[in-house]
């Protein structure tokens, strides 16, 4: 990111105020800060869900200037939302499969891959269960599995442990570590919980749309 500014409400809200940062391949980065500091906005720009008002966002060679970056979202990033955003009328397996449309895989391959991912997040037994009947931690693990569906190089997680108990939080963080190590995926995690942030390789603290601290996290 190079000098990124993001304004809302016709300029009344300055969500990002000239942010410049770089993330290394395979890095586990946590972004923390108080509510309204711009951390989620920053994540949304990296995910190409929104566009900067000014400045540049370049990820893996993609210049994210417009939200029509479907191919980028499909192949480079996997997004995990705080409230999961799973489709309630599809079961666990289908929620993963729906992310794999247009990735070139046949239906059988998609199903096999979806099963692999469910196994990776310990949800094989819940294959036919729709999200409303899953526990909070299970839904978050399913969301992680969906984010991994298209073998992204970057996982973006927005408050993934915000609604979880401590046991589920630990489980999710362990999962992130495993994903980072086994699949060499870059993880950018947004959290207001400094304990969660401390688990990362590197921590960026934001305030009022700016980066105020950029430090290494607790050694692993």
């Amino acid at each position: 990111m190079i000098d990124v500014v993001k304004l809302f409400d016709a300029g009344l809200i300055r969500a990002l105020d000239g942010v410049t940062m770089a993330v290394g391949r395979g890095e586990f980065l946590a972004i923390t800060g108080p509510s309204g500091c711009g951390k989620s906005t920053l994540l949304h720009l990296i995910a190409a869900l929104d566009v900067p008002t000014s400045g540049k966002v370049i990820v893996n060679g993609y210049d994210l200037v417009y939200t029509g970056n479907d191919r980028y979202r499909r192949s480079e990033v996997g997004v995990i939302f705080q409230f999961h955003n799973l489709l309630p009328h599809l079961n666990a397996l289908e929620n993963i499969e729906v992310a794999m449309f247009s990735n070139g895989m046949g239906h059988k391959q998609q199903r096999e891959r979806a099963r692999e991912l469910l196994a990776a997040v310990d949800l094989s037994a819940k294959e036919t269960t729709p999200p409303p009947r899953l526990a909070g931690g299970e839904r978050q693990r399913l969301a992680i599995a969906r984010a991994l569906a298209n073998r992204p190089s970057i996982i973006l997680a927005d408050e993934p442990t915000g609604n979880l108990d401590s046991a589920s939080t630990d489980r999710v963080l362990t999962l992130f570590r495993r994903i980072q190590e086994e699949r060499h995926v870059t993880i950018v995690l947004v959290t207001h919980d400094v304990h969660v942030a401390a688990d990362a390789d590197r921590m960026i603290r934001m305030r009022d749309g700016r980066i105020v601290e950029d430090a290494l996290g607790s050694p692993q």
């Binding site: 939200t67 479907d70 499909r74 955003n85 729906v98 239906h107």
Partner: protein
């Protein structure tokens, strides 16, 4: 998961919404189908008169509202017969009479017995009537079967009793369901002395029929020649009006159905805003989102069309039994009515769902995800 499975799953997840949309389509298709069958059947009933008589073409009075009002006098029939290319001309008086409440539209054909074979009539039982008989009648074999009459029986029309002297066949449903009387007898009963309704013309071999028709049309501006069903409107404006009304009703059904589809699809898209945001966030293209919404609408419309066709068929069967309509038309189900109904249903889905689908596709992912 195949795309089609997702479409079906989405449709059945919102059963009430899908049912409402399908019902709107079904009602429109039922209307189109029933009106189409009614119109076609009425047309077939009217146009079938042309097929009676194995003629090369028929001549009637131009511009009348109903073919039964067409009137040609002896002079005009003779004039047509005087063309050197004409081999024979048979003047026929056509009248409709209400026999009883079950037969409100029974056809009588007035024709001279010496013209029967030229007209393509085959007497299959009994004998032809005498040319000046006032109490003799022949029944088409379908009429004889329906009324349970045979040669020697009495047949009553408008309180007048006739003796059935013969049963005939023309090879055509319209003619075989009618009765034939001597022309002067029917002319007297209808108070149309010297008049016939239509003249059925046979030409000599090798004649250019269209050239002869043009000559007759040009030299007799009050008359119109009819050879094909599509020309029947020249001597029966009612059918043109009915056809126009049918087209108008189909267009109206399409518009109303499309508005219904648009309304329910817009509501569905609004309710599913966040879902579309999630799909864009996981990499779905705008085109795929648009295709999803359109495909759901088309599939619902196809289901509605099937229901509408079934309901339309039932409606036609019910209308067929309404006392005021009994005997007036025989339902005929042309093949293209199904194609037209299907086309209108798909058209409704496309037109109605296009705007909501485009809106869904153009949603900004982050705004959609924030939607409550």
């Amino acid at each position: 998961m195949p795309f089609l499975t997702l479409i079906v799953r989405n449709i059945f997840t919102r059963k009430v919404r899908s049912s409402l949309t399908g019902t709107a389509v079904a009602i429109a298709i039922m209307t189109v189908f029933a009106l189409g069958v009614l119109t076609y059947s009425l047309r077939e009933t009217a146009v079938s008169i042309l097929r009676t008589g194995s003629a090369d073409f028929t001549v009637g009075q131009k511009g009348v509202s109903d073919v039964l009002y067409s009137s040609l006098d002896d002079t005009e029939v003779a004039r047509i017969g005087s063309y050197p290319e004409v081999q024979s001309v048979v003047g026929v008086l056509v009248a409709a009479v209400e026999l009883d409440k079950d037969h409100p539209f029974f056809l009588e054909l007035g024709i001279q017995p010496d013209k029967l074979s030229e007209f393509g009539v085959q007497v299959v039982a009994g004998t032809p009537y005498s040319p000046t008989a006032t109490d003799e009648i022949m029944l088409g074999y379908r009429a004889a079967r329906d009324f349970g009459k045979s040669v020697g029986d009495t047949f009553t029309i408008a309180d007048q009793q006739f003796t059935v002297v013969g049963v005939f066949s023309t090879g055509q449903v319209f003619g075989d369901s009618a009765a034939m009387l001597p022309l002067p007898t029917l002319q007297a009963a209808e108070r149309k002395p010297g008049n016939v309704t239509l003249a059925f013309v046979k030409v000599k071999p090798g004649t250019d029929i269209d050239a002869l028709r043009k000559k007759i049309d040009d030299e007799n501006p009050e008359l119109a020649t009819v050879r094909t069903e599509s020309e029947f409107g020249r001597i029966d404006r009612n059918l043109k009006l009915i056809s126009a009304a049918n087209v108008g009703a189909s267009i109206l059904a399409l518009v109303i159905g499309a508005i219904g589809v648009m309304n329910t699809t817009m509501m569905s898209v609004f309710e599913r805003t966040r879902e579309f945001g999630v799909l864009r966030a996981v990499g779905w293209s705008r085109l795929r989102v648009l295709a999803l919404v359109m495909a759901e609408a088309v599939m619902i419309a196809l289901g509605g069309a099937a229901a509408g066709l079934a309901a339309g068929y039932v409606a036609v069967r019910v209308i067929e039994r309404v006392p005021e309509v009994v005997g007036i038309f025989q339902p005929v189900y042309p093949g293209d009515i199904f194609g037209r109904a299907l086309g209108i249903a798909i058209g409704m889905a496309f037109i109605g769902a296009l705007y909501p689908a485009v809106r869904a596709a153009l949603l900004k992912p982050i705004e959609a995800l924030r939607h409550e």
